[in-house]
């Protein structure tokens, strides 16, 4: 029996569960979330594309700026990584994401206005309703209810990205013409939000990738003019070929598989995208650039292969901050308060300090104990008995 640790002498803090906001998530973490939710790839694609299109259409009709679109889409993506399909309707999630984003980006719109705008998009101008129409009443409350879940899914992290401005600056820097390459880069930026890139990449990486893709689509001499050159050099911009490549390939995946659902896609034939893809694949193979960036804990150790993006990583390589399974929202609250933090290092430090109170320290060690052996018929063991003392 373990000697009792006098834990009544040490009263620890009330147990709580810390949810750390992740400013970035890599593909392996995203895939793990989706597999935990048992979300099929084709279904996920469809929901993702429909949702982003919904948000884009409604935000345009409400005259909301693109930064609200950016924030709304990111919330929509993050929400879908934590909530199973059966829990909600994707259109409601889109509306709630947009509603939340409006508040965060200070471009306020009432939930009724958002629902009304969506409704009016589908009917003739003569029959347009006004937002205070009673039919939006209940739905509007539902959206407001979802707002809290949106904020939780995003971990109350309000650090938002706005790559479009950088796309414009970079485009001008490398001599794009506004109506040609410039417009393509801008639209590629919007399409980029239909992929997972905004969760994975920094603002700079996203902007650089859009600019490069636009240049390739317009047959500019990309390598000579803008990849890692001068004022748009990767060192200065603090990105890397690997990150840019992953983003370019994400975009090309989107264009090759879902061309009609994008803004830039329909403007070019499928072959164009396939050709660009081939060129980039060749570059990536030659330079040994992995398709997806890996966490440090994913990297191969002792010859163990890193988990491929489609298979869930083994437990133990998943960070404690990774999203918990579907019903975790409820479960984690059962063991104590749920707290949201932004600083991962601080959360780790706190965990170490708090664990001292919550884990009884146990040691196992073996001790040789001399025992007077009462010699029995069979003869005892020589020497001492070995007993395990805990």
């Amino acid at each position: 029996m373990a000697p009792a640790i006098p834990t009544d002498a040490l009263v620890g803090p009330h147990p709580s569960y810390i949810e750390v906001a992740k400013p970035y998530m890599l593909q392996s973490a995203i895939d793990k979330c989706l597999s935990d939710l048992q979300m099929k790839e084709s279904r996920e694609d469809a929901m993702r594309l429909q949702g982003v299109t919904w948000i884009d259409n409604v935000r345009r009709s409400l005259q909301l700026p693109v930064r609200t679109f950016n924030t709304a889409v990111v919330y929509y993506h993050k929400f879908r990584l934590l909530h199973g399909e059966a829990e909600y309707n994707w259109a409601d999630a889109s509306a709630a994401a947009l509603f939340t984003a409006c508040k965060i980006e200070d471009t306020l719109k009432k939930s009724r206005e958002i629902l009304c705008a969506n409704w009016n998009l589908k009917i003739a101008p003569g029959e347009h309703l006004s937002p205070d129409d009673a039919r939006f009443e209940n739905h509007s409350k539902l959206i407001i209810g979802l707002e809290r879940l949106m904020l939780e899914s995003a971990g109350f992290d309000f650090r938002n990205r706005y790559p479009q401005k950088l796309v414009v600056k970079l485009g001008r820097e490398v001599g794009f013409r506004k109506e040609a390459e410039g417009a393509t880069a801008w639209n590629a930026g919007l399409d980029l939000y239909r992929t997972w890139a905004p969760l994975k990449q920094s603002t700079t990486t996203m902007a650089v990738a859009c600019v490069e893709l636009a240049a390739r689509l317009h047959d500019m001499d990309v390598v000579e003019q803008l990849v890692d050159r001068g004022r748009v050099g990767y060192g200065k911009l603090n990105t890397s070929r690997g990150q840019v490549m992953e983003t370019l390939l994400d975009l090309l995946d989107l264009y090759t598989h879902h061309r009609p659902s994008t803004t830039v896609g329909p403007l070019y034939p499928l072959e164009t995208f396939i050709n660009i893809r081939i060129t980039l694949n060749q570059e990536a193979s030659a330079a040994h650039i992995p398709r997806y960036a890996l966490y440090a804990s994913d990297k191969p150790r002792n010859g163990v292969e890193p988990p491929s993006p489609l298979t869930p990583a083994t437990p133990g390589t998943i960070s404690p901050g990774t999203a918990a399974p579907t019903s975790a929202i409820g479960i984690r609250g059962q063991n104590g308060t749920v707290r949201f933090m932004l600083d991962a290092a601080r959360a780790r430090g706190e965990k170490v300090a708090v664990d001292r109170y919550h884990k009884a320290e146990e040691e196992e060690y073996e001790v040789e104990v001399p025992v007077t052996v009462e010699v029995e018929a069979g003869g005892g063991a020589g020497g001492g008995d070995r007993r395990r003392v805990r």
Binding site: R59, L64, L108, V168, R172, N238, A296, A344, R348
Partner: protein
């Protein structure tokens, strides 16, 4: 063809129930235009309500007038506009009276006058004349700086603002304020307006962009390190 008496009644009721919401104002404006054959009558309703109702309501009617002018110009029925031009002084007198009881409304009047000038409903000269009239009405006689020392406060023409009205006015002003702020960020959803604007106006690629890139990259490295 609706009964004229009923139309007057309905319109009057709409005016009395105006709020800060633009939808209410637009509905009333559309109703007026729908019954444009009674324009003189409806205009007299407006004047009547302006001279009869609370200060809050008069402020709401003032905003409504702007919507009415916009709708009239849009539908090409300028009679309403003409009548507003004719009677603008009477309107201003009702919304921001000379005795200072409408001090809270002076700003409202100014804003709407500016709006009407922009729409070319009123001439700039007219607006400046009205402005001089307004200047003296900006302050209520019960204001501590000019109050009579005999301590009589808050009674001007028996128009005492009760608490509920004050609260309602605060709410409505807040609502209107939110609407106005929209002009700061609202962009046309059409085509590439926002893109064009940003292309023309954004600053050059510079040190702050590089710095943000550096900070982002460091944050991302940490995430990769610690998962």
């Amino acid at each position: 063809m609706a009964d004229p008496f009923e139309v007057r009644m309905r319109f009057t009721s709409q005016l009395q129930h105006l709020s800060a919401s633009t939808t209410a104002a637009q509905k009333a404006a559309n109703y007026a235009l729908k019954n444009r054959e009674m324009d003189e009558d409806l205009h007299s309703c407006i004047l009547e309500q302006l001279e009869r109702n609370s200060m809050n309501n008069r402020a709401n009617i003032m905003y409504f007038i702007e919507h009415l002018c916009e709708a009239s110009q849009r539908e090409g029925h300028v009679e309403f506009v003409r009548m507003v031009q004719r009677d603008i002084l009477r309107v201003v007198d009702a919304v921001a009276p000379g005795d200072g009881s409408g001090a809270a409304n002076v700003r409202v009047v100014r804003r709407v006058l500016q709006g009407l000038q922009t729409r070319e409903v009123l001439l700039p000269d007219t607006v400046s004349e009205l402005e001089t009239v307004l200047k003296s009405r900006d302050i209520a006689p019960s204001h501590p700086f000019i109050a009579e020392t005999n301590g009589e406060k808050q009674r001007s023409n028996g128009q005492r603002l009760d608490k509920r009205q004050i609260e309602q006015r605060i709410e409505e002003d807040r609502e209107r304020h939110k609407r106005l702020r929209e002009n700061i960020w609202a962009v046309s959803g059409e085509g590439d307006d926002e893109f064009n604007k940003l292309w023309d106006e954004a600053s050059e690629l510079g040190d702050d962009d590089y710095l943000i890139g550096k900070e982002d990259a460091e944050e991302r490295k940490k995430v990769i390190e610690f998962g």
